[in-house]
Amino acid sequence: MSTRNSNIIGTDRDYESLVKEDRVHSSIFTDEAIFEDEMERIFHKTWLFALHESEVPKEGDFKLLKLGRFPVIAVRDNNNEVQLLINRCRHRGAQVCEASQGNAKAFQCWYHGWTYDTKGELVGVTGEEAYDKTFDAKDHGLTKVARVGNYRGFIFASHSDEGQSLDDYLGPAKKFIDILVDASPTSEIEVKPQVVSKTVYRGNWKQIGMDGYHPHYVHVSVFKIFSKRESTTGSAVGAIHLEDPFSDSSPSLTRGFPNGHAALDFRFQRLPHAKDNMAELQQSEDGRKYVEDMIAHHGKEHAEELIAWHGDPHLGVFPNLQLIHDHIRVVIPVSVSETQVLMYPVFLKGVGQEINNKRLRAHEAFYGPASNGSPDDAEIFERVQRGLEGDANPWIQLGRGMNREETDSDGTVSARISDEITQRAQMQEWKRLMTE
């Protein structure tokens, strides 16, 4: 598959010199040739989030994806396994599936009729007798994505045959993914391929990272609204307490993981509010049942933690996945200055309708093209992109809090919530992949 060796449009830029520990050169956000290199060296090489297994629950269920430049069909085959197949006929290259999602027994190319089953095997060739005896349909199945891995239902893919295992790649970030999955009293979540807020901004894909420094400015209009409420149902599984989680005097942290993953770690800030969250849930029938079932499944102590954490890992998995509040976010680079952001609200299994309904409304309030949160992020990303086009003083500062980083026992690095550990972690992984 595509690795650096097959890169036909590679540049000889010295990426080492563009990413320093405390700053990066703005050309990495604006240079089209660098974007082409990113596709080859990052998106066609490292692990990418593909989909959640619940999106294709039944045999034949499929969904189309874009993984780097590759159009991909994710389909559950007749062995109940999710196949990731390159959506490209092995005859002349037409896409064999155009519906964005659905259910199919087979995929037929409408150019000349070649047909593939849900494992990608070529099962029909129009006028096969005209091919040479050496032609073997077995050699012409749909190309499979080189490597596929699954962590608790999250399916990841790599276009490279070689490299780190998914387990090693995720490393200590796995326990943050657990925060979301275990917010369900059956440890099962549901993602629906047809329930997604799809947005686009005119800015580079690397802008949409984890940042604990921006909320007081970018989201000031929302804080004003919250200040007029008695409590907010920010994540719906209990109320987020009004104490400012973005204050450097709060116990909130930024956290950097190996391999470019990063989180805004609110665990210590939220934990003291567990009792309040439980009390709020006790006020409704579905809430009472949720608390009861969480304790039965996870044990009292852990259930209290999970409820306080709201199922919100606030985690970025490099390069294309974020788990924020109630949703799974997929980042799709379109060009050096255009990025799509797909936000899938996560439904908890094993809970009453009211819980998921509240989660949906909370998601809508902050995320989506007409919500009160993410449009201001998109607006600022566009302002940044316009500013970066001029490369006067081209270095972007990412050094905030370098003097107060702490290394934890699991090898992750943490500092105060407004510190730029998250950006530094992402950029160091970017440099590693771009220079490898």
């Binding site: 629906k192 047809q194 329930v195 997604v196 807020s197 799809k198 947005t199 686009v200 901004y201 005119r202 970018v218 000031v220 209009s221 929302v222 004003k224 609204i225 007029k228 799509q340 952001v341 797909l342 609200p345 309708q353 309904n357 949906l360 409304r361 998601h363 809508e364 309030a365 989506g368 093209p369 007409a370 009160n372 449009p375 201001d376 998109a378 607006e379 600022i380 566009e382 302002r383």
Partner: protein, 176 residues
């Protein structure tokens, strides 16, 4: 609202369920509402809504997305809509500043049904938006439940079907 019109009876299409005069009143009202939205006159637009039990709904992903099982671009009751107004008016709501310049054409206004109090109406619009040097074109259909009051028509329920509601959307920086 193509679907409602396709399913409408001949009384709706052929004869019409309201008088010509009433039809023109409805059209003037929707044109006025469009002008308030184009000019970002949020308080005056909000005053067009009547009662505590209102719904302002812009479905996402499909025109028929169920808000109990799917996400919406907008799904506001009165409290949520009032918070939206607060933000639209806030100078620090960056997505809305500078404000978009807008022109929309309203057409296809057809009353579908009437009770003593309520009038159900469909319409469609095309809208040009210019903001920060970029021009966007938006299309949509609207479905209303209006109430005729002594002060003119008022809105009780409004559903807006954006043509691009299943596509990656830029910021929706204005009312639809």
């Amino acid at each position: 609202m193509a679907k409602q019109l396709l399913n409408a009876g001949s009384d709706v299409i052929n004869k019409g369920i309201v008088s010509v005069e009433q039809q023109l009143r409805v059209e003037r009202f929707l044109t006025y509402e469009a002008a308030l939205m184009d000019e970002h006159e949020y308080d005056r637009w909000m005053a067009l809504w009547t009662g505590d039990d209102i719904t302002y709904w812009v479905p996402c992903n499909s025109d028929d997305q169920d808000p109990n099982t799917g996400v919406a671009v907008i799904y506001d009751d009165r409290p949520r809509l009032l918070e939206r107004m607060m933000r639209l008016k806030d100078k620090a709501a960056h997505a809305y500043r500078p404000r978009a310049r807008l022109i929309r054409n309203v057409s296809g206004v057809v009353p579908l049904s009437a009770t003593k109090e309520e009038l159900e109406v469909v319409s469609s619009f095309s809208l040009g938006e210019i903001r920060t040097g970029t021009e966007n074109i938006w299309f949509g259909k609207c479905h209303y439940v209006l109430v005729d009051t002594s002060e003119g028509f008022r809105i009780r329920w409004k559903k807006v079907l954006l043509l691009n509601n299943d596509e990656a959307m830029p910021n929706l920086t204005f009312l639809v």
